[in-house]
Symmetry: D2
Subunit: 348 residues, 4 copies
């Protein structure tokens, strides 16, 4: 079986494994205070033009979201998210387990707008009984979104401005940050994220690392005592250097961007081949996730050879499915998928 069901089906980029192996017998202190973590943090701060950022390396995305949101909210506050947001759907209630309501807004292609956020806040503060309701405290976005789409620089700036108006923190989940940066249509950059956000993370797990995310905290109020909260809520990796080393490797010689471009290019090849056959897409994406609408019998035949995700039912005879490429996806597998799917669609 050939897998297109996620971007974490393989291990790590070989240059990461090599670095881990080369440094294996060195002795360092633990919990992320070693030299490798310091160097990786410095490199990210430089790339983001954010010398005053605090950088924390964390094992996974759910943990990163949980720790940051916990640090940011007072007990009576909630987090604004698209109803498709990862924290709202796929983290088993981790945010609620930390005591906070998720205030969901209906998404458009995975995104929410500054206007929706403003309307939610106005409704809250206009209500005389607002103290009986959850106060919005932070906006959670993902870039790219769960649906592979991207916020434009303009949209992000508008949201930032709305956050300022209502005293909200702005936090961006960058689990697939690389695939966003590498996209053809992208008009944002790491320095822009650092300028607009109070915190954001650059994902490693889905972009070539064994595991690990790099959280940059820009706002001083969120920086304060964050390491306590990290240890308390999600634990810290004893051999913390493993995280620093992986990000050093990813951010050497543009590796992070190069492997992301590879994935995006292959995903767009799949998209274009499908479109050429007249297959509609759920939405337009130029990152590593594509959501075609396929006849059910085509899906069934494809499933004998490929693993991919059923996303949602489209109509009685069609489904939306997801094909996901990654840093490790092989060109020949994409060629084969395109051949097979094209044949099935034509004969369907």
């Amino acid at each position: 079986m050939i897998r297109f069901d996620s971007d974490y089906t393989e291990g790590a980029h070989p240059s990461i494994l090599r670095l881990l192996s080369d440094t294996n017998m060195e002795q360092t202190c633990g919990y992320g205070e070693d030299d490798y973590c310091l160097r990786a943090a410095d490199r990210l701060k430089e790339l983001c033009h954010a010398p005053d950022a605090d950088v924390h390396f964390i094992t996974g995305g759910t943990q990163t979201n949980l720790a940051l949101i916990t640090a940011a909210l007072r007990p009576h506050q909630g987090v604004i998210s698209a109803d498709t947001g990862h924290i709202a759907v796929h983290e088993s209630g981790a945010i609620e387990a930390s005591g906070h309501k998720i205030l969901t807004l209906p998404n458009t292609d995975g995104k929410i707008s500054a206007r929706q956020i403003a309307e939610m806040c106005e409704a809250h503060y206009d209500d005389e009984t607002r103290e009986h309701m959850v106060q919005p405290g932070l906006v959670y976005l993902s870039q790219p979104t769960e649906l592979g789409t991207l916020y434009s620089a303009r949209e992000l700036a508008d949201i930032r401005s709305t956050c300022g108006r209502f005293g909200l923190f702005l936090y961006i989940d960058g689990a697939r940050c690389g695939y966003g940066l590498a996209a053809e249509s992208a008009d944002f950059s790491l320095p822009l994220l650092a300028e607009l956000c109070d915190a954001f993370y650059i994902g490693g797990t889905k972009v070539g690392a064994l595991f690990g995310e790099a959280l940059l905290i820009l706002h001083p109020a969120l920086q304060r005592d964050f390491r306590y909260i990290l240890k308390q809520r999600v634990g810290r990796l004893a051999k913390g250097r493993l995280l620093g080393l992986q990000f050093l490797a990813l951010f050497t010689d543009d590796l992070y961007l190069r492997i992301s471009q590879h994935a995006d290019r292959l995903a767009c090849r799949i998209r274009d081949a499908l479109s050429a056959c007249g297959c509609p897409m759920l939405l337009h994406s130029d990152t590593n996730q594509q959501f075609p609408v396929l006849p059910d019998d085509v899906c069934e035949k494809l499933s004998e050879k490929y693993v991919f995700s059923h996303w949602q039912r489209f109509d009685d005879t069609h489904s939306v499915v997801r094909f996901c490429t990654g840093w490790a996806t092989k060109e020949e597998n994409v060629d084969m998928l395109i051949r097979d799917i094209t044949a099935l669609l034509k004969n369907g």
Copy 2:
């Protein structure tokens, strides 16, 4: 500087790195449902004579403790622990952050007794206002303890019996399980732990893995829906196979036991050399942690060349320090340490 300050100063045992490298480009599903995790789980169940155990691989000890204790306690219950227990001291209040009080008992050489547990429970249930106090729900032990000592099989059986009497779950933190099993004085075994405990974990992070602990859940009430709780409270590793692979390597050809014996033997060499110089120990340990009482000027000189932990003040001129060996500790470094410390003590 030569480090004796912890058992997680190096990377992983080379056979682990090799296995990760050999399987790197394979595609598997995520979150611990791959074949490697299944095989590792089967191997541990066999070793523990526990075919009905549920096995979960988790990235670290704090996370393992948090998830298991969260799953086991109802909201009004607390966990009984030695006052030196890891959860009571060094997890930044993670257990309290999940809503539960830690009911501490004074330790003797890091251990608590069945009798102490029984007295705490009797005092609770004898009190007419017990509903205004936290109800004991689970006993947390570590084997070996934070001080390197071991519970005997008899002590464990007594505690198990007391737990039965008061409706308490019994859970053992085996972060350094290998160093316990390998100790000369050990009269317990993995099957015994599986027989007596409702849950326990076999530590990887401190015994040769990059990271990872293997939690065995024996009691069906704790098995139920545990994966939900794991995801919610501490996250699950996307590339879950990394955990399974490491435990497969550790439990091939007795590697886990062999590297633990190596560490214990070196620690005992340090202990015996110090004792031969008349240096008192805080307590008797035959695992990988040793706690000698050293003159402060000796400590200071040693610190120029070695890293080790200050444990507690002993008197105006002496401190208790901790030397910790590990699977990767080199014999020649132990030789050198013994030479240096012996010389300092004789000239002191």
Copy 3:
């Protein structure tokens, strides 16, 4: 100003004040273990034909909901509620603060159906990644609903049966229970609630008491150690007898039903008078809350003399408002309101 904005604008029914006054200097033990609480509990168990129920008297509805839901759910479970449910909207995130997600379903006239509940549960258990989502654990209804409507006995029985099928607890918030029981269309009874629910409460605060709700717990698993959870999560009233005494008074000589009938009758008079003028209602209610659609200028004029709640905007020139009667509402005030509103509508 004359208030029609809630059913808790006055103090308590005079027979309650009298009983408090008559027993004021008696000495009793605290925390609800006195004779008055025991007698009140016995009376409610008899009325509900539920000799094995546990009865707890609690100061308010938010606290009752919080304590019961906390006792019922395991950490990874959530509570199913209408999107208009009190816990979902007006309790400042109290349920989330206790760690649990509220799984909302769209309401129809304030109600949800057995079918909606079944579909939510099926979607959950059909999903392969269900462990990354919150597991439904309990269904929360209110009777009457937030919109004054009532579930029929048949609807309740269907929901009970669905709960059985998916292992869900069923809990009913009866803050306005009396106004439901007294309604003309009501085909449910206290014994029916006791038969169908795992727990429900009979509201005092909104039905003539100074404060207080009587929670009946039917399911043994929820009864266990509930007093611990009550103390821990919401506190218990030191002078607990105040609660028992009030429920004794309310359930003597049918007082609870009589004052509820009074309120319902007056609310229906308002409803009928408005309908007679051609004023549409948001929905049909025969309990103590009525939701007419009024022209904005009529609302404005009425506001000079009466206090009532703005509920939602209807269109550019009309609003839905709420008139609420209670045990203490005076007939002459209702007469006057009807006269004024009729005049305004006719001249409008």
Copy 4:
């Protein structure tokens, strides 16, 4: 049976009942925003010389402690308390259930010292691994203490100064505040509490009210959004005016002080009579709680006629017991108790 087991055995002072009765049929808005609450708040601010305080009326002490501590602490912080503190012992783990560890210090006669607090903080901040431990965030005292003793003005000032040095909030639980203010040895006042504390409460439940505590918040950071937290964590009383009315009555014509003096005087009469018989006391108290050491056979005989609390075992034949007087204690019952106990001790 005559009760000396607590100060909440009777209802409320008659002037409170009268005021509730006189205002019973008035209509007001709910949740503490009515005129009575505003007037009561103004009166307390005036008495405390604290025009900028926020005053909140809350139904009980456990709820008050929980809400204030929740508002004050960030997730990784804990509260410093005497090991005898009410929050540490008798609130069923309510503070831990809100996520925070209680950092206990050994008490001396129910009190802790500025020096103990400073040493705990120094130990925390001196530790290199402090991020793995709970950070002290707030000091919790009670005045009078659980053992009836009082902090002097000097002791309070020293603690305040230590709090300043380590960035700790200072909060005082005044459940029995009246009995402290009325004590002969008291050298503190309400304005002093308002000057030194970031928040404190004046207890009603144990000093003549049906229920209710008045929380004064001085520090602006704790004032912010406190009503949200109150609603979320412990609920707010729908008929909030009941709380305002009671405090208006208590703080009219010095009622609060007068009834407290009455209770203290009677408690001291018991103390002096016992001392005159040579009966030792656990400690010196001049508030409403007295802790004599009595022979077990005397205790047993007394128990046939009086209810009082067993506090702790003293030796094989003696126990420490607690006699508690209150605003409602009758002089003739104290006379009788003294006669009986004196006779028993002399014949013993």
